[in-house]
Amino acid sequence: MQARPDRIACPMLSLSCSSTPMPMRRKRTHPPRRWPRILLGLFLAILLLATVGSRESSLSRILTLEGVGVGQRLFHWMGEAAAGVWDRYIALVRVREENKRLRAEIDRLRQELAANREAANTALLLRRLLQFRETIQPPPITATVIGRDPSLFSATMIVDRGATDDVFLGMPAVTAEGVVGQVVEVAPRVAKVLLATDPNSAIDVLDQRSRVQGILKGNGQNYIMEYVLKGTDVQKDDIIVTSGMNGLFPKGLVLGVVSKVIQGQRGMFQQIFVRPAVDFHQLEAVLLIPTERLFPE
């Protein structure tokens, strides 16, 4: 065993920090109880092995989604509350003493304006969602985004509606701007939505102008329309909509606009790049459309 100093100078952090995981241990009078931790470790390892490669909603997945969902709800609520505190009070701290009253007045008016703008934007967003909602039959379920994907290579999000709100696997998630994705996992009070920009997403689409069909796949940030033969009529700025062919998405929902078409030298198909209609970074609420149940629960 290598002897380690108890505390060392830590130049990177400019302070001293503990160098060992355990200080010099005294002799124990009784053997340490490691069995519970080892058993828990074994249990978790078995749980992990059981979930590898699985896409089914097992108990462990539901428990994790539900458990983390509670924290995400709490954090979402705290974030909104903190933003409110920031807008109302903390912005006033920097006001100078000599024109305190005037600046406070300006700040108050500015805050009111910002709050009114925020309220107007929210109202606009909700009105558009409501107008869009009224066009869909049966009425969709409104869900708030409470969490997002922790990985660099996948695009999913967690919404605050689950099986108790009649959310089921495969439900399309949309906004007034266009398609967001589809539900891939459902827990009692939360659900996971696979965004259309995820590499695992594939949606049957058509060009709204020329009616040319293809498969729209995600590449992380944008879409690529695949399996469109060379010579078919797809042009820049064409709008791409769902074809309704697979029965999952209703026909005619907007996905994006063609940003680039490449007719390569090799291969049978064109390379078509599509810019998403939805700004996935700004998503706050989505509508879950109760279509036909295509997947068993």
Partner: protein, 168 residues
């Protein structure tokens, strides 16, 4: 006690990673906070506690990320095994930010390769800029987090020592 506190920390880190971190602007990168905890668990905690914390974080990240389970959890466990086997010379606190940054690169590479093997037609795009920025910001975030984790562990051990002394 140490175990319970680090399980709570793992939960908090998972919630932060799925709520606060995605709100950061793209130019700020995307730090991998669970990985910072994993590095700490691998080189600073006792084996049983470290492994339990790592397994919980790995399962959590795996279920919350993407649609395929497996690659993220296995990558996290492999990193734990590598760090644990080399933890003798690496057990110093100043090494943790560098290890967290390097670990982010390795884990992302492993997840990318795992996804490419599991779903050859749906391979994600490897973006060097995002990956390197993520590694850098993970290293930067590891500085305060490492201090927090160390202070937590030190406080718990102090309490345990005092309890033992008062018992004797």
């Amino acid at each position: 006690m140490l175990f319970c506190v680090f399980i709570i920390l793992a939960y908090v880190v998972l919630v932060l990673q799925t709520t606060l971190v995605p709100l950061l602007p793209p130019w700020a990168g995307r730090p991998d906070l669970p990985l910072v905890l994993l590095v700490h668990a691998a080189i600073r905690l006792p084996t049983a506690t470290g492994l339990a914390v790592t397994l919980l974080v790995a399962i959590g990240v795996d279920i919350l990320a993407g649609v395929h389970t497996g690659p993220a959890a296995l990558a996290y466990l492999a990193l734990f095994a590598i760090l644990r086997s080399a933890s003798g010379p690496l057990a110093l606190a100043p090494h943790q930010p560098m290890l967290a940054g390097l670990g982010t690169l390795l884990v992302n590479l492993a997840i990318y390769l795992g996804s490419a093997i599991l779903t050859p037609g749906d391979t994600p795009v490897w973006a060097w800029r995002q990956v390197l920025l993520g590694a850098l910001t993970t290293g930067v975030c590891a500085l305060p987090l490492t201090m927090l984790f160390d202070d937590c562990a030190a406080w718990i051990r102090r309490r345990q020592r005092l309890k033992r002394q008062s018992a004797t």
